[in-house]
Subunit: 117 residues, 2 copies
DNA sequence: TCCCTAAGTATCTTTTAGGATACTATACCA
DNA sequence: TGGTATAGTATCCTAAAAGATACTTAGGGA
């Protein structure tokens, strides 16, 4: 890690990952390969079309996902992770691992609060 | 990584790291140890007192930083990373590494765009 | 002839994050 | 007597993210 936090590039990764839906979209595509728009939508309960479209376009812009349109009616559009997008996997791994620990940490804290109250 | 993205805990890590100031605050404390409020403020050009206070309180709430108040006037308050907070380091490492690659990736893309235009 | 589908747009409203600015307390120092 | 320093609060305001809802397109099937 750099000596000077000012020069650090953590924000770059963060800017791609933040948002209520982006991490889970990336995880779905990482784990399940190519998916149609409607499949993704079904996989993300609560997301609106507008949001899904927006997030996917932003990820495409960053070269994290690839969008393939089949010129047919009704439309068919497939999304998949790019090779470059796959390079985010270690970050997501690290976060997942930490998140699991974090759940335990919170539970322990709650237990302690109960005991002292 | 879990088979089902729904059960994944990536969001937990993300929720702690997001925000315009949190990652850089954590990095400062990780690298420079204990710091007074005013020192942190000087290290973060552009941050307002309100924001710094807010971010620090939220990190304290999550047990990422520790806050120690010395009962004296003018006030003295010291902040430091907790052991638990230190466990975020691998995530920040992974992000930093990726961010560095990302910069290169963007530069290559720009070069290609210039060549095709 | 009309409805269905898939993958969107277009508007409008709500929620959240972030920022600007002013104010506070109180010991110490000139 | 008044100014300085530190670590905050208290209000108000703007911008960005997110959400709700309605509309579009055009081929195929009943």
């Amino acid at each position: 890690m750099e000596k000077q936090p000012e020069n650090c590039r953590v924000e770059d990764a963060l800017s791609i990952l933040v948002g209520k839906w982006k991490p889970i979209i990336i995880l779905h595509l990482l784990q399940q390969g190519t998916k149609r728009f409607s499949e993704l939508k079904r996989s993300l309960p609560g997301i609106t079309q507008k949001m899904l479209t927006k997030q996917l376009r932003e990820l495409e812009e960053e070269d994290i996902v690839q969008r393939v349109v089949y010129p047919q009616v009704p439309p068919k559009v497939e999304y998949s992770i790019t090779e470059y997008g796959r390079s985010l996997e270690p970050i997501l791994e690290a976060m997942h691992e930490w998140g699991t620990k974090h759940t335990l940490h919170k539970m322990e804290k709650q237990k302690q609060n109960q005991m002292t109250s």
